[in-house]
């Protein structure tokens, strides 16, 4: 059997992000990992893409594939970029691991005309159940770490994140929640349900001032 080789298949949550990006735009992927999203955007959406990645292994893997990626970290290395340098700044599953999520979010909105942010929702019912019923720090498929060795230090719920966006006067252009069966729904009309059923959340943000 001949299997058609297609290296442009990416994880569903990354695909959702990619779908929000307009072709030909300038993109910065903060915490770009092995570069699979950047590689996809470069080849399928013809973007001018850059990445920042904390792990040297990730950086080297990215640069070896021809991606423009630097070793750096969301807390320290966003300050150098000029205002509105990118059309989109992407922060995928990283916000909860930053030291100062509010500052990071402000920087994303400063250097990008839009930001795309995804994070694990701490309001997800299994997380709530773990604390309420078992009395234990939650461990789920998206949050597999023990409390003592987790890189995730600033969890939030969908509701928390929306409130922060409101405080920072950030426009939410699009918001999606994904449940454990990878089913995606819009948060907008049913925020309470999304905050309960959504395992992951994804936001497309825009500065209010623009």
């Amino acid at each position: 059997m001949v299997i058609e080789k297609d290296r442009r298949v990416i994880r569903i949550d990354l695909q959702l992000i990619a779908d929000m990006v307009v072709p030909g735009s300038r993109v910065l992927d903060v915490g770009c990992g092995d570069g699979s999203l950047l590689d996809y955007l470069l080849h399928e959406k013809n973007v001018d893409g850059r990445g920042i990645e904390l792990s040297m292994d990730g950086v080297n893997a990215c640069v070896s594939q021809g991606l423009s990626v630097i070793q750096g970290d969301a807390d320290k290395d966003l300050f150098n970029y000029p205002n509105s340098a990118f059309d989109y700044v992407i922060l995928s599953q990283t916000l909860q691991a930053t030291m100062a999520p509010r500052e990071v979010l402000e920087n994303l909105m400063r250097i990008g005309k839009r930001a795309i942010v995804s994070f694990p929702n701490f309001g997800y019912w299994r997380v709530r159940a773990s604390l309420a019923l078992r009395g234990c720090m939650p461990r789920t498929k998206t949050l597999p770490h023990e409390w003592y060795d987790t890189p995730n230090i600033h969890f939030c719920t969908i509701q928390d994140f929306v409130r922060l966006c409101n405080n920072l006067e950030i426009n939410i252009e699009k918001s999606l929640a994904m449940n454990s069966r990878r089913l995606v729904s819009a948060i907008g009309s049913r925020p309470f349900a999304a905050n309960l059923m959504g395992e992951q959340a994804l936001f497309l943000l825009k500065r209010n001032s623009d």
């Binding site: 080297n60 640069v63 991606l67």
Partner: protein, 386 residues
Amino acid sequence: MENDPEAHANVFLGGQRPLRLECGVELKNFPVGYQTYGKLNTEKSNAILVCHALSGDQYIANTHPLTGKLGWWELAVGPGKLLDTDKYFIICSNILGGCMGTAGPREINPDTGKCWGLDFPVITIRDMVHAQAMLLDHLQIETLFCAIGGSMGGMQVLEWAATYPERLCTAVPIASASHHSAQNIAFDEVGRQAIMADPDWRGGNYQEEGTMPYRGLAIARMIAHITYLSEPSLQRKFGRRLQDRPAVTFGFDADFQVESYLRHQGSTFVDRFDANSYLYITRAMDYFDLEERYNGVLGDAFRNTKTRFCVISFSSDWLYPTVESRRIVHALNSVAANVSFAEIESDNGHDAFLLEEPEFWRVLSGFMDGAAEHFGLPNYTLSKTD
């Protein structure tokens, strides 16, 4: 142009329009020694300029005419290698102030018919780059696919990116810095003092007086060589092992292997290098400060650049440590330039860029391939006329 895959030549440049140096002196009709490898394609889009370091020269991938040894980047340059001579046309010229065929203190001053010696004007990294640009004009190459170099070669690459951004598709400064630190200047000064303290230096006039400051130059090389290696690599190579003797001799002979190694490095260096050149080139490095030229804002050196950068440092390099590369990266970020940056884990110190470092090569070849695709290098087809 030369069809010889390992073409070498000396040309005289600045016959029509002299090279105006930063110090104000004009160089007319001055020689430049260079080597080329591979073939220039018909579009002239596959040229790579390799910028050599302090003690390097243009013999990157062929036998050195003085030492008979392999070229200093033989590992990286050649058919099928990292800088593939089947794909790229590779140029390396001896830097201004050097001693392998390009104008420098050892060459003849056309005005006097004698060696320049210390009458040679003090040159800068920028002057070296201007001379390289004149060589490219001579070779009728408008745009470089890449300027690449380690150490002082990296400084030239940064200077290229700042001075001739429109002539440069990609820039690869390796194990380098945008300025010399106090520590860098300090080590250079010790080297220069060693040369000048040698009675055979004769106030720089040794060629006319028929002497050579061998000892001074050898000591300068020994000091510098220590800075090229890391503590762990010295320990691994030599430890406290003794040189061909069962016990220490209670004297000042080279008892330890590391002493013997450094003496060897010093004594072989003087066979191929000129002491005054060493003074001039280290001075050029000390004067290098790209940030200062742009009023303390390094990013302004690269404003609106279209060049793609790949900055590489080595974890154990303490001569041009990673923090220096990161400074360059931050400056490039500040103007939203296209930059990749990797710190390669290695205990080979500064010299790692000359050695077999698989991770370094993987990163660099990925960058080069990506850039070749981006800039539409015609799938490495060679000129039919060759």
